[in-house]
């Protein structure tokens, strides 16, 4: 059956956000990033450009990183969405977060949702080399650090 949302109306969808079953009323024109930030108030996902260039709005949908400003929220129905809040906890940070912290890999932190989620995806896919991590991070812009320390942190990850 076709899934449909008519212009000017909303439709109730179910998705799993950081493992939590989430019910949301979305319009056809609701972007996933707007659902995450404005409706669910998960503001760790950032908005830098809304054109798909910067990567600050990165989340993982069914395990694959995507830029949530390029996603209609309707497409996320029934799917698993991981935001940066779901990566780890303050008490028990993810090893990449620890490595970024120890290696001075970030300054303002605006780009971190994309850097960390793409770094994690690459590590889980078995990446170990600098070249592989460049390919993993090259959809994210950082205007503070120049990327070198991030790559060092990922390559040196224990």
């Amino acid at each position: 059956m076709s899934f449909r949302i008519d212009a000017g109306s909303t439709r109730r969808i179910t998705l799993w956000v950081n493992g939590v079953e989430t019910i949301a009323d979305v319009e056809s024109r609701t972007l996933l990033v707007d659902l995450i930030r404005d409706d669910l108030r998960l503001t760790g996902t950032h908005v830098g450009c809304r054109t798909g260039d910067c990567g600050a709005c990165t989340v993982a949908v069914d395990g694959q990183t995507v830029k949530s400003c390029l996603e209609l929220a309707a497409r996320s129905r029934g799917r698993q969405v991981l935001t940066i809040e779901g990566l780890a906890t303050v008490a028990d940070p993810h090893p990449i977060q620890t490595a970024f912290d120890a290696g001075f890999a970030y300054q303002c932190g605006f780009c971190l949702p994309g850097m960390l989620l793409c770094g994690r995806e690459a590590i889980e896919a078995g990446a170990t080399s600098r070249a592989e991590f460049i390919l993993a991070l090259n959809g994210n812009l950082c205007r503070c650090t120049g990327y070198a320390n991030m790559l060092d942190a990922l390559v040196d990850l224990p």
């Binding site: 024109r29 798909g52 694959q64």
Partner: protein, 275 residues
């Protein structure tokens, strides 16, 4: 939230899709990965009443039968990269997919068909398909037709697709060829200025696809025994009739100036590669 309102329909089969197209309120637009469509929609640049999503229709399969490779138009760059058949039998597409700008997030969502129909002179896919001699299967509720990739492009951002037609499948010959792909761009996250895809078959001249120089993809043949490939490419371009392309990255004269060197390097890459 996107400012303009529209109806969104995601059919789950091609039969449903045909019914949806017939009853949808025009203007209709098809979306696939959404990586160029959604930002243009968000910026108010697309006049649309009904957005029809092709991502759940089942057009994401890669199949190889005999000497023909068929790609569903909604095949993502990531799927092209992961597919060992594509690596073996259409390696130009693997090389191209490796160079896509925008990172894994774009490779996971962007599709070969979506880029093919965008017809952006700076995009990778149109020229790669033209170099490979691909044929495009376009469908509407009233039937289907096949169009040669080179003839598919009418002018920048415009193809032969009619308003009720969508690109369904891409067919390629299965060729044991040497290939290479290069593009000139000024930054990792930037659009390319010139793209070159080269296919060298076991016999005969190299097929060279050139993007970003004309308003539509250009395909030329270069004799691989030629010692001055750069000169031969410059000579070919000086005789060819095409409408030049320019944008804010580079004007037409610059593109024409760098194209022969890009072609020379890419043909040499291909000739050095495994057969």
């Amino acid at each position: 939230m996107i400012a303009s309102e529209f109806t969104y329909i995601a059919p789950s089969s091609e039969a449903e899709l045909a019914a949806v197209i017939m009853t949808a309120t025009p203007p209709i637009r098809f979306m696939s990965g959404g990586t160029w469509f959604v930002p243009l929609l968000d910026a108010g640049h697309i006049d649309v009443n009904t957005v029809i999503d092709l991502s759940e229709v089942g057009l994401d399969h890669i199949s190889i039968v005999g000497d023909a490779i068929t790609l569903g138009a909604a095949t993502t760059y990531a799927s092209l990269l992961d597919d060992r058949h594509i690596r073996a039998d259409a390696p130009l597409l693997s090389r191209m997919a490796e160079t896509i700008t925008g990172g894994p997030q774009i490779r996971h969502r962007g599709t070969i068909g979506g880029s093919a129909v965008y017809a952006n002179p700076a995009s990778d896919v149109p020229t790669a398909l033209a170099a490979l001699g691909a044929r495009l299967e376009v469908r509407s509720p009233s039937g289907s037709r096949e169009i040669d990739a080179l003839a598919f492009y009418v002018r920048p951002f415009e193809t032969q697709l009619r308003s009720d037609e969508y690109l369904a499948r891409i067919r390629l010959p299965r060729l044991r060829s040497r290939v290479a792909y290069r593009k000139l761009k000024f930054g990792e996250s930037s659009w390319p200025v010139v793209t070159v895809g080269v296919v060298v078959p076991p016999v005969g001249p190299a097929h060279v696809g050139l993007g970003g120089v004309g308003q539509c993809p250009i395909v030329m043949e270069i004799d691989t025994a030629e010692s001055d490939i750069r000169g031969a490419a410059a000579d070919w371009l000086s005789r060819a009739e095409f409408d030049p392309w320019s944008d804010h990255f580079a004007d037409a004269a610059y593109r024409l100036q760098v194209a022969p060197a890009m072609i020379d390097r890419t043909v040499r890459d291909a000739l050095r590669g495994p057969a």
